[in-house]
């Protein structure tokens, strides 16, 4: 028996409003409510609602034989709840059938996997909790933003207890291998990896209405035949695509809904084919091999890399500046700052700053609300500057509140260090992260600093100096936290 695994992606970012530099420090609301609402309403009417109804009909008709899976980003869920609650009800109905698997992803549809493991994990857990709250199930399968995957990301996901992760069946990682098997992560074989069959997926998602395509028009007979012609040893055809394919990218007039309405019956009429969700697929089949992905891949563009979001100068500056506040955000308890921190992390903001599409403006224009990548960058940076101002203010407030906490711990760490031999101090320094070392060095008095300067390498010193320049001043609470961490490392040394 061979499986067809359908997974649909739903994501909507909070698009930013036009935010000029003279709003800095005055205006703390960043979103274009009208645009976000109208897009959500349009897509709900044209795509989400009709397609959800169609899937419900198919489940009614085929019962347990028809399965699908969804990943819905946190920012999409929040906007669905706010602007089109009827869509949320309809997803809940789908969840109740038991034929639908909900996947986990990063709450903000972020690039956290590329920038910060801590933030990555935090957002996955947030998203898991949200899915559990809304649909009553705990996701067992993970899909990262834009199907971004590497061996290292897979390892993190395995450590979090996920059994399965989805990614792209990129040619350059597969070579001669087929995407139609279950693979395992190269570091931790307990994590199964499912690879998108991009040819079959894109036949529906991109080529369906393309009259230049030699296989146009795509009929259900034709498509079911292609699936049926899989090599008998192969296990699964992974059809992964954006949910907006139905009704938004491919309009109703193209016949996409009729195609989907009839496809399951055609597939199920083949004795060797069935539908399975990702979790069912990995239960059913033995993995064939591990898959090596040392450099991150995604499902985007011809290159299947991350250059749509990261890599040009403005994208890198924007992302770096955004994540420079990560430590400060961990100590920040202001709910509105926390919400903005998530919304600003949506990968879309960096996609709008991509400059590699100048030769192919059409694709780019379709997805961006900005006139140019530079406009997108300036707008984002203005907002980020305001966000930093607020965060700093909040940090100062917090410092005032905890200023009454007696700072007895300071002496402790210092008195220990003063007695350290140079060898031992060097050992300790080698065991500290840049942030810890920076905290220790710059919060110490001159005696300790002089002592440290003797054993600290010039390169290491430049590094912490740079770290210090790029991060916000530490709050009292953060200093206490660092001291605790350093004390722990000292204890470990002994």
């Amino acid at each position: 028996m061979q499986s067809v695994c359908l997974y649909f992606q739903i994501h909507q970012p909070y698009r930013l409003k036009k935010y000029r530099f003279f709003n800095l420090g005055n205006d703390h609301y960043y979103y274009d409510d009208y645009l976000n609402k109208s897009i959500m309403e349009r897509v709900a009417a044209k795509s989400y609602l009709p397609m959800n109804n169609l899937l419900l009909d198919l489940i009614k008709k085929h019962g347990k034989k028809f399965k699908v899976s969804f990943s819905i980003s946190g920012s999409a869920l929040d906007q669905i709840q706010e602007f089109t609650p009827q869509v949320l009800d309809s997803f809940k109905q789908l969840a109740e059938t038991g034929n639908v698997e909900f996947l986990a992803e990063t709450y903000a549809h972020s690039l956290a996997s590329m920038k910060s493991k801590d933030e990555f994990v935090r957002q996955i857990q947030m998203h898991q909790a949200r899915i559990k709250e809304l649909f009553g199930v705990n996701p067992q399968t993970f899909r990262n933003t834009e199907l971004i995957y590497s061996d290292e990301i897979g390892e993190t996901i395995a450590d979090l207890g996920f059994k399965t992760m989805l990614t792209e069946g990129a040619k350059h990682i597969l070579g001669w291998k087929s995407p139609n098997f279950v693979y395992t992560n190269a570091i931790n074989p307990r994590l199964k990896v499912l690879l998108r069959n991009f040819r079959l997926s894109d036949d529906i998602a991109f080529r369906f209405s393309n009259q230049e395509w030699s296989d146009w028009p795509l009929t259900t007979d034709k498509f079911a035949d292609w699936l049926n012609k899989m090599d008998p040893r192969e296990q699964v055809a992974n059809l992964f695509m954006d949910y907006e394919t139905f009704g938004e990218h491919q309009w109703t007039e193209t016949g996409i809904f009729e195609f989907m309405r009839n496809l399951p019956e055609k597939i199920l009429s083949k004795p060797n084919l069935c539908f399975k969700t990702p979790s069912e697929v990995v239960k059913e089949y033995q993995p064939i091999a591990d898959i090596h992905v040392p450099n991150a891949i995604s499902w985007a563009d011809e290159e299947r890399d991350l250059t749509a979001w990261l890599g040009n100068e403005i994208q890198d500056e924007a992302v770096d500046k955004l994540y420079s506040v990560e430590i400060a955000m961990r100590n920040c308890h202001d709910p509105s700052l926390q919400k903005d921190w998530l919304k600003l992390q949506a990968s879309d903001h960096f996609y709008y700053m991509c400059t590699k599409w100048f030769s192919d403006g059409a694709v780019h224009e379709y997805f961006t609300p900005y006139g140019s990548p530079y406009d997108a960058f300036i707008n984002f940076m203005n907002i980020l500057a305001d966000f930093h101002i607020r965060l700093e203010r909040e940090g100062n407030l917090r410092n005032n509140e905890i200023s009454k906490i007696p700072d007895t711990q300071r002496e402790d760490v210092f008195s220990i260090l003063e007695k350290f031999t140079n060898v031992k101090l060097k050992q300790l320094i080698e065991n500290l992260g840049d942030d810890e070392l920076s905290a220790l060095f710059f919060e110490s008095d001159q005696i300790i600093r002089d002592k440290m300067m003797k054993v600290i390498g010039k390169r290491k010193f430049n590094k912490i100096q740079q770290y210090r320049d790029e991060s916000n001043a530490l709050s009292k609470k953060e200093i206490i936290l660092y001291k605790e961490k350093i004390r722990l490392k000292i204890a470990l040394l002994a």
Binding site: F21, F358, Y374, I378
Partner: protein
């Protein structure tokens, strides 16, 4: 292929983009084996003649007893000689020319129809007189030389082009570097200039515009048949300025406007944007380089806004001073209300200065590494300038990619297009 080309100025004696563009084009055409005779009203003898043979119109005798010359003169008399046309030049030069020329109409007619005529080759009060005489010269040269096609740059030379066409029967290409609508604005149109522009384009076998923006203007306001208009974007000559050095004397960042202080160039929008930025950021200085009829009004407005300590006027800059100004600049702004092409941003980019340009400029059609705003969108302009001053990666990206982009805008490419237009005209002419 041999081209009889009529221009008004040629380096080093230039006041604006026209001379620079004509020169660049001739150099480019030479690379495609096109021979040219380039006629200017007044040659100084130090022009670069490697690419073209420069013909000085002041040296050309006109025998007005010849029938075709007389015919043409009769047609020309609608020109009201001595009319005060809008100066296309900085005020100092204008005043000087105004002093120089105080002939009566009769004297002028005598002068124009005399054996030889000494052109100023400028844009002064006797401009119409020079244009008329230049047309006579055009007819004479056309009768004396052998060539395949005529190419006339801007309205000043169109009458010469038309005369040459009538004498020789060879096809005429007119090149629109600017229109009267760009120079004067819709409500201040000089009807004579408009008339010459329109006539030149009507008589031409092909009209070349320097941008699609200009192409649209020509179709909309002049009623020219779109099928005979082709856009050939300007390019820029590569230069080596690596030996130029300037010591920065101010700690603030510098934002620069460089152009005539006239309606067309939109200096007031730059000023208003400066005001918005200075309200938020004191660490910037604004420089307005240029001269023009709006100078006084702009100074008044600076005083009114109380930003005089941060907003500076330099007057008219040229040559090395322009290059130095770019070396001192962190951002260059061209807020033109209507700019057929706009070469200055390319010069800024070549000097590693990121640019903000108005969408109402032809150069916006070819540039990628520039921020484009509507000229009236003062807030957007201020935001773009602020972004370039504060978010380093953006200006770094523009500097890095901008130089490369500008270096690829070669006259050789533009000339290739022009040559293709010549060929299509010649082919149509045979049929």
């Amino acid at each position: 292929m041999k081209v009889l080309m009529f221009g008004w100025e040629f380096p080093p004696h230039i006041t604006g983009g026209l001379g620079t563009a004509s020169y660049g084009l001739t150099k480019g055409l030479l690379k495609h084996d096109v021979e040219m005779i380039f006629v200017v009203p007044k040659a100084f003898g130090d022009e670069d003649q490697r690419a073209v043979r420069i013909v000085n119109a002041s040296d050309i005798p006109v025998n007005y007893k010849q029938k075709h010359i007389q015919d043409f003169w009769n047609k020309l008399t609608y020109l009201e000689i001595g009319s005060n046309i809008r100066p296309y030049i900085d005020p100092e030069d204008f005043a000087k020319i105004h002093e120089d020329v105080k002939h009566s109409i009769k004297e002028k007619e005598h002068l124009i129809l005399g054996e030889k005529y000494s052109f100023s080759g400028k844009y002064g009060k006797n401009l119409m007189e020079e244009v008329a005489r230049y047309a006579m010269v055009g007819a004479s040269i056309a009768a004396q030389h052998d060539f395949d096609i005529i190419h006339a740059h801007d309205w000043l030379t169109y009458l010469a082009g038309i005369a040459a066409k009538e004498v020789s029967g060879k096809p005429l290409v007119v090149h629109m570097h600017a229109t009267e609508y760009d120079r004067a604005g819709e409500s201040n149109i000089n009807t004579e200039v408009f008339g010459i522009e329109q006539k030149g384009m009507q008589m031409a076998d092909k009209v070349i515009t320097v941008s699609n923006l200009t192409r649209d203007t020509v179709v909309k306001y002049y009623g020219i048949d779109p099928s005979k208009i082709e856009t050939v974007h300007n390019a820029i000559e590569p230069v080596d300025k690596s030996n130029l050095q300037v010591q920065r004397s101010v700690k603030e960042k510098v934002v620069t406007f460089l152009g005539r202080l006239t309606f067309q160039k939109g200096p007031e929008y730059f000023l208003e944007a400066a005001k918005l930025i200075l309200e938020k950021d004191d660490n910037v200085r604004f420089v307005m380089a240029g001269n023009g009829d709006m100078f006084e009004a702009l100074i008044k407005r600076v005083a009114e806004l109380k930003i005089g300590t941060k907003f500076h006027f330099t007057g008219f800059l040229k040559g090395a001073d322009v290059d130095k100004m770019f070396l001192l600049s962190d951002v260059f702004v061209m807020p033109s209300v209507s700019e057929p092409f706009g070469l200055v941003p390319l010069e800024a980019m070549r000097s590693n200065v990121p640019v903000v340009i108005s969408k109402q400029s032809g150069v916006a059609e070819v540039l990628t590494n520039a921020i484009k705003v509507d000229f009236w969108d003062v807030e957007g302009m201020a935001d773009a300038i602020y972004g370039l001053l504060h978010y380093d990666s953006l200006s770094q990206m523009f500097i890095k990619n901008g130089v490369e982009e500008v270096n690829n805008l070669k006259w050789e490419h533009a000339a290739k297009q022009v040559k293709a237009e010549y060929e299509s005209v010649l082919k149509n002419n045979k049929n």
